[in-house]
Amino acid sequence: MSAASPTEPAALVPALKARALNKRYGRVVALDNADFDLMPNEILAVIGDNGAGKSTLIKALTGAVSPDHGEIWLNGQPVAFKSPIEARNLGIETVYQNLALSPALSIADNMFLGREKRREDFIGRMFRTLDKPYMQKVARQKLTELGLLTIQNINQPVETLSGGQRQGVAVARAAAFGSRVVIMDEPTAALGVKESRKVLETILRLKERGLPIVLISHNMPHVFEVADRIHIHRLGKRIAVINPKNHTMSDAVAIMTGAMAPPIDEAA
C-alpha cells in the first residue's frame, strides 16, 4: 500500500501503480477499490467482461476521469492527473476505446494533435508556421508501418475513414509518441487479421524500446501471445493477476467470468 521507497531496486518500482480506485456513476459502481500494477518494461494485459470497468480504470489512470478516491503512482511518485494532458506530458500515451480523434480534421492533423511540429526555419520561429509536409510524411510512414495501405490520402478527414482505418490512426499516434507508458484499450477490435498482427508487432517493438505497455483486449489468443502478465478485472476490481505461462486461456476466461475462483496472486 505504500509508495516505493527510494532504496527499492528500480525494477521493483512499478511504472504505474494504483490502489483502491473508486468511481461511481449514480448507483452504478464502475470501479470498486480497484488496484493496478504495471511493472517496468512489461506487457500487461487487462481482461474482463464487458462492463467490468476496464476502460474506466484506464481513464482514471490517465486523468480522463477523476476517481472518487484512490491513489496513483508513476515510477514511485504519487500523481493526481487533473486532465489527460498532464498524463501525456509525463509521457503516458493512450489509445482510448472511443479513439479520441477529431472527425473533421485530417489524418495528419489528428496524428500530431496537441504536439504539432513547427517549421524550423526563421519563418517557423517567427510566425509559428506549421511544418505540414513533415507531419504528412511522418503520418503516412506510421500508417504504412501498421500496414494500413488502403489509406490513400493523408489529408482525408478522419470521419471518412473505415472503422479499422480510424483505429489504426489512433494506434499509430500512441505508438509514435509514447515515451514512458503506452496504454491501449482494445486497439485491434476493428482491425483486420493482417493489421492486428502489425499492432501486436508494434507492441512488441515498443517493449523492445524499453517501454511498459498496457493492453486491454477481449482477444485471448492475442493476449496470450504477447502478455507478460494478465490483470483480470471483474465487477469493478482486480480479482487476479496471472502469468500466461502457467495458465490456459480457458482458465483466464473462467476466472474472468466468475466460473473459477481466482488463484492467489502469483505473478511478479
Partner: protein, 373 residues
Amino acid sequence: MSDNATGSAAAERGLPPAEPGGVASFDEADRGPIRRMQEFLHRFPTSIPFIVLLIGVVIFSFAAPGKFLAPFNFSLILQQVTIIAILGVAQTLVILTAGIDLSVGVIMILASVVMGRTAVVYGVPVEIAFPLGLLAGLACGFVNGVIVTKLRLPPFIVTLGTWSIFGALNVWYSRSETIRQADVQETAPFLQWTGTIIKPYDFFSKTLGLDLTFLKGWVLNYGSVVMLIVAAVIWYVLNKTAFGRHVYASGDDPDAARLAGINTDRTLIGVYALAGFICAIAAWVLIGRIGGVSPQAGQTANLDSITAVVIGGTSLFGGRGSIVGTLVGALIVGVFRNGLALSGLELLWQDFAVGVLIIVAVTIDQWIRKISS
C-alpha cells in the same frame, strides 16, 4: 446522407484534393467541360461561395441596371459590409469552437467609446487611448472565455449575460453622450483614419505615373484594408498554426480533443480573447465610418455577424468552416441589401426578397457542393 455532410465539411475547410493513386483513377481523356468544372470546384471548394456571389451580382445588374453595376457602387458595398465582416471574423473563431458570441456588437461599441471618450473628452493622448480601447475589447473577450471555461457554462448564456453587463458599462462610461465627428477630428484624427478614402486610380497615377483607367471610379477606405488584414491574419492563424488546429479540434469534438491532449480551456480562452480584440479593431473601423462615437450604433451587429458566418458555410455546431466563407457571406448579404435598395422595390417587398435570396443563395451553394463532389 452523412457523406454529403462530410464531403462538404472537408470542402469547407479547404482541404487539398485527394492524391492520385486510388483504387481506380480517372480516365483523363473523357473530361468534358462539365467534368472539368466539377474537378475545379472539388479542388478549390472555397470558390463556391464566390460563384454564388457572382450569381447575385448578375441578377442585380439586371434588376437595377446602370446603378448597381458601377465601380463606385461596389466600393460602397465593400464599405457597408466592412464592420460586419470584421465582427464576422471574430464570430467565426467562436463558432468554430461550437460557441456563440452574442456580445460582439456591444464589445465593439464599448471599445469605440473607450477609444473616443478617453481621447476626446478626457484628453488622454491617442497613443494611449487607442491601445486602451483595444485592451478593453481584449479584456471583455477574456472575461467571456474565462467564464465559459472555468464555470463550464454554455457560451450562449455567458455572452447573453456579458452582453447586458458590457452594455451597462458602455452606458456608464459613455454617459450616453455622442462625440462629434469634428471633435474627434480635432483631438484624435487617428481614430478616424480607417474612414480615409483611397482612390486606387489616383494612387497609381500619382505614385507610379500609371494610367490604369479600369481603376477609375473605384474608391476604397482604410477600413476595408484593415478588414482584409484582419481576415488574412486570422486565416493564417487558423490554417497554418497549431493554435488554429486546436480551435478546429476543440469545436469538432471537445471530449476527443481533450483526450488527445489539447488544453481546450486555454484554446477557448484564447479564442474569446482574440475575438474581443478583433471587435475592438472593428470599433476603430466604426469610428472611421460614422466619424464620431455613438453609444448606440451597431446594435444589430450580433445577428448580422452570425448571419455572415452561417451563410459563409460555417457550422454552428463547431469544427467546420472558414474565414473566407465569412467574408463572402458578409458580401452576399451586402450585395442583396444594396441591390434591392437600388432596385426601387417597395421596402416591404425588399424584405421579402432578402429572405428568399438568403435561402436561395445557400441552396445554390449546397447544390454546387453536392454536384462537385
